[in-house]
Amino acid sequence: MAKRIDVSGLNAYYGSFRAIEDISMTVEPRTVTAFIGPSGCGKSTFLRTLNRMHEVTPGGRVEGKVMLDDEDLYGAGVDPVSVRREVGMVFQRPNPFPTMSIYDNVAAGLKLVGTKKKSEMDDVVEKSLKGANLWNEVKDRLGKPGSGLSGGQQQRLCIARAIAVEPNVLLMDEPCSALDPISTLAIEDLIGELKERFTIVIVTHNMQQAARVSDRTAFFNLAAVGQPGKLIEIDDTERIFSNPSVQATEDYISGRFG
């Protein structure tokens, strides 16, 4: 199911402000790619251009190409709604639908595409919850509201919801920043398992996390506040953390700024 992402010459704007400038990169299928960089460098913005969520923000606008295998997400006639079915997303703060049960949360995406059969739905819900390592904790209370779970459980519920529709790519926007260390560890383990099935892109502020979970790491930076963010370099994680080719990357990683 996993697909390759190939970005070329991508700019994203908020109104007339250019938030990211001329980004090109390739993300291979079944890998985990981490985006790191100081606050405001546009890594989250860039992530949101990969499933056309950026244009949901008022004034949000994108130029350039994002190829998902051989299709341009921004090509003429492409429906953003179908793009988001193919490219799932997990957000910074766990956001299960507060009025829905655990079961309904996981099934939410399926219901949209019209899966009607109860048995089919049950299977997918179970599979997704197992895939998110949550099944054992919630199997006895699927009818309870999702908002009653702990933060870490909620986040895994959101992951289950995202993978239930079998996307090709999974985007994660700082998925652990609102969680405690134990929950964070659980999510990191999960990411390792999920990459067997999905192409994963994760934005993180935590460099140890990037080092732990990712195969490739991209470093973003901006020249100054008010300037657009840029991709400084992307390379194998090991290399980025041991021997980056750009000085700024090394400075950032060794904690000299950011």
Partner: protein, 335 residues
């Protein structure tokens, strides 16, 4: 802003438990200035309660006087003749008319108001949404007498065609039968009330929809939901209780509306199954229309009917407040 922090004690010392604080403030206020000021402000609060109590007591008192002389059954009589000998009057027709006109008003206003609220928050171009919201805000301030004037002189003449139509196609139901009189009937009242309560329901619903956390809408979007599906999954469930309480507030207004109804309705003291033929009346309209020719007995009878209206609006508004309060607790617990 969190209420608990804003209500925190202004005293410099560590805050005592809330219940004890008032007593302490009273006892500790040795200065005459402090004592007087506390007395004044507490007195005002008590005065307010006293007014509410007085409304209930005095209306009941006059109502009991009137109902005691009523030869008919106050709740079931289809007649309003408190000055006759013997006096006979009952609120059955008024209750029927009030309920029917309010139901029509709600049936029209609630869906349309929810539509406008969604339009402002989710559909209109951003540059349009703000000004529209502002205008709707201002329209909520237009006095009912002006709605009445507009209803009587502009709306009523426009309704002939619609009434004929309803009669042609739906006349067989009995509800939409029309004898061809001036369209000053319950349906007209309902339409006018709907227009009047539209701004208030829209305003409250709009606020609720605007408070839907961005992250819930994004969650739905990221699952590949269309705009309508986002609204159905994230916005409407979140806003449901808010819309209900907004509707109750609107209902409270519709129930008590006086002048606009009095100006467009051609009232009579009979229950008419057809909504298009003149007939019926509402509590408030009946008070306004019958007041000028009423003797003291007549006024007491009107006060008795006003008491019923008072109780009904209390219940409706109380229910709305309860829903709002429950919702606050709910969202607070999940914040």
């Amino acid at each position: 802003m969190d209420i608990s922090t804003t209500k925190d004690t202004p005293l410099p010392s560590t805050p005592p438990p809330p219940a004890a604080e008032e007593k302490r403030a009273a006892r500790g206020a040795t200065r005459p200035g402090d004592r007087i000021f506390l007395g004044l402000s507490r007195g005002s609060g008590i005065f307010l309660l006293a007014i509410m109590a007085a409304i209930a007591v005095f209306l009941s008192y006059r109502a009991v006087l009137a109902i005691g002389k009523d030869e008919g059954n106050f709740f079931t009589t289809f007649e309003w003749n408190p000055t006759g000998n013997p006096p006979v009057f009952g609120i059955a027709v008024l209750a029927f008319g009030t309920i029917v006109s309010s139901i029509i008003a709600m049936a029209i206003a609630v869906p349309v108001a929810v539509g406008i609220a969604l339009f402002i928050t989710h559909y209109a171009p951003r540059k349009l949404g703000g000004p529209i919201a502002y205008v709707v805000d201002l329209l909520a301030a237009v006095p009912s007498i002006v709605y009445g004037l507009w209803g009587a002189l502009v709306l009523v003449p426009q309704l002939d065609g619609l009434y004929g139509w309803l009669n042609d196609y739906l006349g067989w139901t009995g509800i939409f039968e029309w004898q061809g009189g001036a369209p000053r009937s319950m349906l007209t009242v309902g339409i006018l009330l709907a227009i009047m309560i539209l701004p208030i329901i829209t305003n409250v619903s709009r606020e609720v929809f605007r408070q839907v956390p961005q992250m819930h809408e994004e969650a739905a979007l990221a699952l590949g939901a269309t705009r309508w599906e986002v609204i159905r999954m994230a916005v409407l469930p979140f806003g449901r209780s808010g819309v209900i309480s907004a509707s109750m507030l609107g209902l409270g207004r519709a129930l008590g509306e006086t002048m606009a109804v009095a100006m467009v309705l051609s009232s009579s003291f009979e229950i008419n199954l057809s909504l298009l033929d003149p007939g019926g009346g509402t509590f408030a309209q009946n008070i306004a229309s019958k007041f000028s020719e009423a003797t003291e007995m007549g006024r007491d009878a009107l006060i008795a009917s006003g008491l019923v209206l008072f109780v009904i609006t209390l219940l409706v508004n109380g229910a709305a407040r309860l829903i709002i309060a429950r919702r606050k607790e709910f969202s607070g617990a999940n914040a």
